[in-house]
């Protein structure tokens, strides 16, 4: 038996396929783009191909993320908060707080030992403190988003980025560059700025260790270092950090599939 989770995020759409034992057997990812329906179908096909199973073998699919209601293959939907929490606790059972930094929003979630959500807090009103802020900084510098984290780690001089607004920070970065400041130092300042905003979200939910950092931005080593420095603790980061929402959705899907299967057997 197989089940899948599809997470339609603002930037990327992700899918995870699990087997009956809850092991990840396939993953799929692509840019969400304008056609949400198509991207959700494609990531599922991709995940099934990587699992070497036909799409029909997947018994239950749960959609999550902002485009979850447009996942045509979805049997049900679960909020991304619930899915991120579930995925994080599955991979790191001692997780009590989750920081999820995505392309367009940032969430702080506090959970219990079962991965149930106790409290959460989110910034989705503005791009400050989200992946978009980093992407804007990368673009101004002419670097790729995957390059800026490692570059920021080479910083030797502490520099403070004062603007919170993503639009204004672009001018601030150009200004700093024109004054001869090094891009390593500027980028470290950009990462610290986001870490600062994350810390205030985490304070609002009452952070408790262990902290698991999820979302696409968790793959950025500069961001992990900035968050750890700011909070003064080590954070859990998985190789699958960007699939966390899809993984959580897939775990819910496995449970539903099992429950459904037993219901069918009982009715026989």
């Amino acid at each position: 038996m197989y089940a899948a989770g599809i997470d339609v995020g603002s930037t990327q759409t992700k899918a995870v396929v699990l087997d009956e034992g809850g092991r990840i057997v396939g993953r799929g990812i692509r840019m969400t783009g304008a056609d949400v329906v198509r991207s959700s179908e494609e990531v599922l096909a991709q995940a099934c191909a990587s699992a070497e199973i036909p799409v029909e073998a997947v018994e239950y699919v749960i959609g999550t993320g902002y485009g979850r209601f447009r996942v045509t293959a979805g049997d049900d939907q679960v909020t991304e908060i619930g899915c991120h929490a579930r995925g994080a606790v599955h991979l790191f059972p001692h997780t009590r707080t989750i920081l999820d930094i995505g392309g367009q929003d940032t969430k702080a979630i506090r959970v219990n030992e079962k991965g149930e959500v106790l409290d959460f807090c989110m910034n989705d009103k503005c791009a400050a403190g989200t992946g978009r802020f980093l992407a804007a900084a990368a673009e101004v510098m002419g670097l790729g988003v995957e390059e800026i984290g490692p570059v920021s780690l080479e910083s030797t001089e502490r520099l403070k980025i004062t603007n919170v607004c993503t639009v204004f920070v672009e001018s601030e970065i150009l200004n700093q560059l024109s004054r001869g400041r090094r891009r390593e130092d500027i980028l470290a300042g950009v990462h610290r700025s986001i870490a600062g905003r994350s810390a205030s979200l985490l304070r609002r939910v009452g952070m408790e260790p262990e902290l698991t950092f999820t979302g696409g931005v968790a793959r950025n080593p500069g961001m992990v270092a900035a968050v750890e420095e700011r909070l003064g603790l080590a954070v859990n980061v998985s190789e699958d950090s960007q699939y966390m929402g899809a993984l959580g959705a897939a775990i819910f899907a496995v449970e539903r599939a099992r429950a459904g299967a037993s219901r069918q057997e009982a009715s026989r």
Binding site: A34, K125, A127, V164, T166, V167
Partner: protein, 271 residues
């Protein structure tokens, strides 16, 4: 015949105004100039000053006093005085549109709502300089996302039939939102005017914080955007006064205040 120069170094444009020191009221503006600020603020001030002097047909040697305002005012070389934008914008607005009691100045990065006494004194002000949600940059970013020249925005938006609702307050998130509107078949004029309506909501609430009352004036670069002016008039249910030189209000205010200082200095008893 000496002149006074006022320079306003804004985040996008740097403006300069040349005044005649002795001319009668209403005839003192000799020339204006504006240039893109870019990143060297001192250089922007020099270029704007040169443009204004050329417009006035006056030489740099005749400048008796130089006052600077705007966020780059401390970078203006050889300045005699620097003055806050709030004071300069208020002074400039009153000069251009005598009798106004509330003013909103909307630049690329800031919006300032000012309440004036009939004498032109600043009674109260509110400012948004933290984010692009209520500033010219918001329109600029949307235009860029739609690949439209900023100068064409107003003309296109005036053709709107049913302005789209733009729910994102954040300029960056609004970029994705407008792209979605395009994908869903909305027309460019409807999207642009929706953007104007959205920013007008925020400008109107800034003005209401200081008390919106007529005569009301809009200054700053955004005042040239006719479509946005209409949206703001609808939101405030008030007529919005403008002036062809409204973009120069800050530089003009700085120059007028500089001239006042110069006169005071001339009449002071030497010690």
């Amino acid at each position: 015949m000496s002149t006074v120069l006022g320079v306003d170094v804004g985040s996008r444009m740097t403006k300069a105004v040349v005044l005649d020191v002795e001319a009668a009221p209403g005839r003192e503006i000799l020339g204006c100039g504006k240039v893109y600020t870019h990143f060297d603020l001192a250089d922007a001030a020099r270029r704007a000053a040169a443009a204004a002097l050329e417009d006035a047909g006056r030489g740099a040697g005749e400048v008796a006093y130089l006052s600077a305002t705007g966020y780059g005012r401390y970078q203006v070389a050889d300045r005699d005085l620097q003055i806050t934008e709030m004071t300069c914008h208020a002074r400039g607005a009153v000069e251009l549109m005598p009798g106004v009691v509330s003013v909103i100045d909307v630049g690329a990065q800031n919006a300032r709502a000012i309440r004036l006494a009939p004498s032109g004194r600043v009674l109260q002000f509110r400012m948004n300089d933290k984010c692009a949600s209520g500033a010219g940059r918001f329109v600029e970013r949307v235009a860029k996302a739609l690949e439209i020249d900023l100068e064409e925005v107003s003309g296109l938006a005036l053709r709107a039939e049913q302005p789209c609702e733009i729910s994102s307050i954040c300029a960056v998130l609004a970029e994705s939102e407008v792209i979605n509107h395009v994908t869903n078949g909305a027309s460019i004029p409807d999207i642009l005017q929706g953007t104007h309506v959205s920013i007008s909501d925020r400008l109107a609430s800034l003005v209401r914080q200081v008390g919106a009352e007529e005569p009301f004036a809009l200054t700053g670069g955004v005042s040239r955007n006719e479509a946005l002016v209409r949206a703001l008039e609808e939101r405030l249910e008030m007529r919005v006064q403008r002036h062809p030189l409204a973009e120069y209000a800050g530089a003009l205010g700085a120059a007028l205040l500089g001239r006042q200082r110069l006169h005071a200095r001339a009449h002071a008893v030497p010690t």
